[in-house]
């Protein structure tokens, strides 16, 4: 392969990378179905969720550790919700440390999980598989306002 050809292909790919990155940062991720729940309190909760490294054990959208359950929709799951979350945060479990959070901090975590719940569904249990291997995620559209 000639040097100029290599340079040309590299230039095309690197340029595509930067253009694609900008498109992802903007139009690719512009939708936020949970925006009405995206509050100052939920944003503090998100930072606290990171600061306590909750993702080491839990998942949001199936991404994170596998020691504990996926928390994307724990707020709206049958039999769960804010009180259920606070009970775990209050005492911890044999697998989960007690982080000794204040009431304000517990509310922030709940606010973050309420926001996360409104953004979409995980894990997806209602879907249709198409002939080309793609999937129609039915449950996704049920979230948000």
């Amino acid at each position: 392969m000639r040097l100029n050809t290599k340079r040309f292909i590299s230039a095309i790919l690197i340029t595509s990378f930067f253009i694609y990155s900008i498109v992802i940062y903007t139009t690719g991720t512009s939708v936020d179905k949970g925006k009405n729940y995206n509050t100052a309190q939920s944003r503090k909760g998100k930072l606290l969720f990171q600061k306590k490294n909750c993702i080491a054990c839990h998942q949001i959208y199936g991404l994170g550790g596998y020691m504990g359950p996926d928390l994307t929709n724990v707020i709206s799951a049958p039999g769960k919700g804010p009180v259920y979350i606070k009970a775990f945060l209050q005492n911890g479990t044999v697998r989960m440390p007690n982080f000794h959070l204040t009431e304000t901090e517990k509310d922030e975590i709940v606010a973050f999980l309420t926001y996360a719940d409104k953004t979409g569904v995980s894990p997806v249990k209602k879907f249709e598989i198409n002939y080309d291997g793609t999937v129609n995620w039915k449950g996704k559209d049920e979230k948000g306002d």
Partner: protein, 449 residues
């Protein structure tokens, strides 16, 4: 071999320190991985370092192994084998010092419970600054060095350069969450996080696969493959995947639909790489077996087998209809572990086994070679059980989650036997690693003394 003296020794010495710290990081990483694995199946085990600390310690130390061993190799291979003089001999020393000091602070931050809480980079975000500086130094030194080479670059120099460039960009990208524009929209935050994480892995794969091609080139004393048209076609195909195929990590995240379709389409081009591997085996298996006694080649042949297995798994996981069952299960872990241990670590061990005798000017004696050889077989056979147990656990979990009849704790109980196999296999893999590295550490120790 004649012992190295004076300036030549000083120049090469830095690589041996990179390798020494790489091996220490790997041993530490595997120990924390083992503790984490047993904490998974035995709640309360080793309670004074909880799982929220053992997991990041494991991940960060294993990633350090990958970087230190790959970078140490490149610093050594460039001036000794690529007909160029390293632009600066001081910069690698500064690079190593920054790496070690940052690493120590990262470990202290984990142990004291100070987290940034981003998967794979769980330390406070301020520590990204020295990491970025160290990569800029590495990149500056690398490009200033290779641009002095008048002959055409073989594919591995392209791959190393690509790995450095894309790591720097995607690592900065992985820290964009510090800005509210990225952080405050959960969908954008997760999408950008996994865009960068996916491409980051692609970039360090460029460093490692480049090293594998370099080693084959040197051992066979034949640079025709590294300069061939097909090598560059595969390189550009790999680069295209690095840029566009990351979204299979986040098919279920509700971002724009076209992101998924692009990732799905590009991921399927990996079938070409799979076909190429099978074709190569057909053509070169007997030759590879002929050279199987050479330790470096042995580990590269093993990595070829693991590339095949993990590529099949990766292609399957990239099909949305399969991904819907496998996402968030131990099948993803099987892919990550299979790639990190089976592919990356095998190639990097091959590089260490090539580089350590070359720098120290001492060969492994027959007893040491035998120990390494036994370690090789133990690692690979037990890794297969480890990998299969994760695949089965992932399959069961995915099926049960979609069935939606059991709660989380019951699903975990169903897969516990397989996770026990994973934890026990981890001990075997660790034993195999020690058998490979103890003779290597002995050579390094004698050299440093």
């Amino acid at each position: 071999m004649e012992p190295l003296t004076g300036k030549e020794k000083m120049k090469k010495e830095i690589s041996i320190y990179f390798i020494l710290f790489a091996i220490i990081a790997l041993i530490g990483g595997v120990i924390f991985g083992l503790i984490g694995a047993f904490q998974f199946i035995t709640p309360g085990f080793f309670d004074f370092i909880p799982f929220i600390k053992t997991r990041p310690l494991h991940v960060s130390m294993v990633i350090s192994w990958i970087f230190l061993s790959a970078i140490g190799g490149i610093y050594y291979y460039l001036p000794t084998c690529c007909n160029v003089t390293l632009y600066s001999d001081k910069l690698p020393r500064i690079h190593l010092w920054i790496f070690i000091l940052t690493g120590v602070i990262v470990i202290i931050s984990y142990l004291s419970g100070q987290f940034g809480g981003r998967e794979y980079w769980e330390f406070p975000p301020a520590l990204a600054i020295p990491i970025i500086i160290s990569w800029m130094l590495f990149g500056f030194n690398f490009f200033k060095t290779v641009f002095t080479r008048t002959e055409p670059w073989p594919v591995y120099i392209w791959m190393w350069g690509t790995g450095i460039f894309f790591f720097l960009f995607t690592y900065i990208e992985s820290n964009l969450w510090v800005f509210p524009y990225f952080r405050d929209n959960l969908v954008r935050d997760i999408t950008v996080q996994w865009k960068s994480n996916g491409s980051l892995v692609g970039s360090w794969n460029m460093l490692i696969y480049g090293t594998a091609i370099f080693l084959m080139d040197r051992i066979k004393n034949d640079d025709s493959i590294a300069k061939s048209r097909i090598a560059f076609i595969m390189y550009f195909l790999g680069l295209t995947n690095l840029i566009f195929n990351w979204a299979h990590h986040i098919y279920i995240v509700p971002n724009a639909l076209w992101i998924r379709y692009i990732a799905y389409g590009i991921s399927m081009t990996e079938l070409i790489i799979l076909g190429k591997i099978i074709w190569n085996w057909k053509a070169s298996l007997s030759k590879a077996l002929q050279d199987f006694h050479i330790l470096t080649i042995r580990f590269i042949v093993a990595s070829d087998v693991w590339i095949f297995l993990n590529l099949v798994l990766a292609i399957m996981l990239s099909i949305p209809a399969i991904n819907i069952f496998t996402h968030g299960t131990h099948l993803t872990v099987a892919h990550a572990m299979g790639s990190t241990i089976g592919i990356n670590t095998m190639i990097l061990i091959a590089s260490c086994l090539f580089l350590i005798p070359d720098i120290t000017r001492k060969q492994f004696n027959p007893f040491q070679s035998k120990i390494i050889s036994i370690g090789f077989w133990i690692m690979n056979i037990i890794l297969l059980f480890f990998w299969l147990a994760l695949v089965i656990a992932g399959y069961i979990k995915g099926y049960l989650v979609v069935q939606d009849k059991l709660i989380f704790q019951d699903i975990m109980l169903q897969i516990k036997p397989y996770l026990t196999i994973v934890a026990l296999s981890g001990i075997g893999i660790f034993a195999g690693l020690l058998m490979v590295f103890i003779p290597s550490l002995k050579l390094i120790k004698d050299y440093i003394r």
